[in-house]
């Protein structure tokens, strides 16, 4: 899958967690970048792991996350930026 823009990364991520967002009472179309997926009950730590491996599968690349802060993974906008940065690099 060819992904170029940050909007495309965001839409991929939202797509992958749409069900979890809805179940936690959030509208995937309107959810803001600042939402913390862990604290708001959308994902737990293993849910986050499966999101990461889904993103890796879809983009065909392994994400290097050892330098990421917990918030870089938990907050939607920051997670998307992590993914973009790795595609750019």
């Amino acid at each position: 899958m060819e992904i170029h823009s940050s909007a495309e990364v965001r839409s991929l991520v939202i797509d992958l967690i749409a069900t979890s967002l809805r179940e936690a009472g959030h509208d995937p179309a309107r959810v803001g970048d600042e939402i913390n997926l862990l604290e708001s009950g959308v994902l737990d730590s293993l849910g986050l792991l499966s999101l990461i491996s889904d993103v890796e599968d879809r983009l065909g690349t392994e994400l290097e996350l050892s330098d990421a802060e917990p918030e870089d993974l938990a907050v939607l906008g920051r997670f998307c930026r992590q993914v973009e940065r790795q595609l750019g690099g």
Partner: protein, 535 residues
């Protein structure tokens, strides 16, 4: 009978010795021993005045806050057992537990107070609600007609609290775990049980007031008993990080100088994957302890590289035997004791008796697989209001005079004196991310949610060395909408019990004796997940 050292007495002693030391650090602030004691006594005095003394149970409902801790301490100050409930569980499930226990006194932090608004209408009783973090509880009061609601401005001062003698056999806490019939089981743990556990831990390790203990789980999970009560017994500090910090806890452990960690191995697996166990990255850690599910050797190895100075131990125990009752010290060079890539669960704590038995509860020869049954001072009182289940799960085996708890865990003794090795579960119970789950409870919830007499099967999937990462459900029906079912389940089950996938089949495969062929369903999953087009 008076207990020599009980939980509360130990906390009070520490608070007298170290009033200004930090007793707990949480995402919403830290609290000193003196302050935590003052707040707990104030809550206890308020409840003593405003809530009935019976039943002898005080609930602490909340998130990761000093108030949640003050709530459990207040229960003990009242001579009550504590009933911890978490706001991360659905309001309907918490309401069900509260209704079943008839609990008449609830302490709630700010998040807890928010959940009470939704929850209180579903209760059969009208409990007293103490919400110390709310200055203005008007909104809650509007929803809680018939309940006394006491806000932060209306608390009694703590001086009215009286020191009570604690009966050894009385309830210290009541924890609800997943139950096979669809209703959670309440495990009643006495002061005697938990005193015995804490004493064994204090004898085993050299903990002191300089130690910082990681609390990696909610108060509803009995692993929390270790960091909380052991830290407070030695005058140390409990650190309760946020859910976000716990994804990659490495930086938190370093920053906060954690010296003792007790986590479920799943946490370690996530850390390995996210590169959070760099060699030498946890220099302050003295003890890296694991409990709650099978410990894969690769996780032990990862922690040992990250914390080369730490002692690594695998603890084992069901809630019914009070947190942990066996332990095994793992060393990187001890490869020969591993079995199927998991670390042994070791040998029983002093005073605890572990037998490996067959179906008639007679011991099997060493080397053979059997069910682990345990006896001794840590074996719990039984299940709350469930004498039948208690009798079935806590039998006196032939030729013995003591009650044993049937763990349902299959183990093997490597040699007559060797450590016990965990082999698997003997029933339909499984560890999902470290939480003990009865698959039957998920199946019952699916049947309830579909409001028809469908058949439903929950299977642990994908399986891991320590249990499973999630659950996949099969439902024998057409015309049921998965999203509707999942939404209904969300109201009743905690996150880790919600199926990641629900599959519909027109009919279930059967075994020769007419039971659902679970193995065949599992094969369907293996085939489907091996073929991406069916995923």
């Amino acid at each position: 009978m008076k207990v020599a050292v009980d939980l509360l007495a130990a906390f009070i002693r520490s608070s007298e010795r170290h009033p200004h030391r930090i007793a707990a650090r949480t995402p919403s602030g830290s609290v000193t021993y003196a302050e935590l004691r003052r707040r707990s006594m104030s809550l206890a005095a308020t409840l003593d005045r405003r809530a009935p003394a019976d039943p002898p149970l005080t609930c602490s409902l909340g998130g990761r806050t000093p108030t949640a801790y003050a709530g459990i301490l207040a229960a003990l100050y009242r001579g009550h057992g504590y009933l911890p409930l978490s706001t991360s569980h659905p309001a309907a499930r918490n309401a069900e537990v509260l209704s079943r226990t008839g609990c008449a006194a609830i302490v709630a932090d700010e998040l807890g107070a928010r959940q009470l608004i939704e929850l209180v209408g579903r209760l059969e009783q009208r409990p007293t609600l103490v919400v110390p973090d709310l200055v203005d509880p008007t909104e809650l009061r509007e929803h809680a007609s018939g309940c006394a609601v006491i806000g932060g401005d209306e608390l009694e001062s703590g001086e009215a609290a009286v020191d009570r003698e604690t009966e050894a056999a009385s309830l210290a806490y009541l924890l609800f775990t997943s139950g096979s019939t669809g209703t959670p089981k309440g495990v009643m743990v006495s002061h005697d049980n938990v005193t015995s556990f804490v004493s064994s831990i204090l004898a085993r390790y050299d903990f002191s007031e300089g130690d910082v203990f990681l609390q990696s789980s909610e108060l509803t999970f009995d692993l929390s008993v270790f960091p909380v009560w052991v830290a407070w017994a030695v005058g140390g500090c409990v650190l309760w990080p946020s859910a976000t910090q716990m994804i990659k806890p490495g930086s938190t452990l370093r920053r906060e100088g954690v010296t003792v960690s007790l986590v479920v191995p799943s946490v370690g697996r996530v850390m390995l994957k996210l590169g959070d166990l760099e060699p030498g990255s946890l220099p302050s850690l003295r003890y890296a302890l694991f409990c709650g599910e099978a410990l894969p050797v690769e996780v032990a190895r990862g922690w040992s590289r990250a914390a080369p100075g730490a002692t690594i131990e695998n603890l084992y125990g069901p809630t019914e035997a009070t947190v942990a009752c066996t332990a095994h010290t793992w060393r990187p060079e001890d490869d020969e004791e591993e079995e199927a890539g998991v670390v042994p669960i070791g040998r029983p704590f002093p005073g605890m008796d572990c037998l490996v038995v067959d179906a008639s509860l007679r011991e099997v020869p060493s080397g053979e697989v059997g069910e682990l049954i345990v006896a001794g001072p840590q074996v719990a009182l039984g299940y709350f209001q469930d004498p039948e289940r208690t009798a079935a799960c806590f039998p006196v085996p032939p030729g013995r005079s003591e009650r044993f708890y049937r763990t349902g865990d299959l183990v093997r003794r490597t040699s007559a004196q060797g450590p016990l090795v965990y082999v698997g579960r003997s029933d339909h119970q499984v560890k999902i991310r470290g939480h003990r789950v009865e698959l039957g409870e998920i199946e019952a919830a699916l049947r309830r949610a579909s409001a028809s007499s469908i058949r439903a099967v929950a299977l642990p999937w994908p399986r891991t060395a320590s249990g499973a990462d999630g659950v996949v459900a099969f439902v024998e029906a057409d015309g049921v909408v998965a999203s509707v079912l999942r939404r209904a389940l969300r109201d009743h089950l905690p996150d880790y019990m919600i199926p990641t996938e629900i599959r519909f089949l027109p009919g279930f495969p059967s075994t020769p004796n007419g039971k659902v062929d679970r193995r065949r369903l599992e094969q369907l999953l293996e085939e489907a997940h091996g073929n991406p087009q069916l995923c």
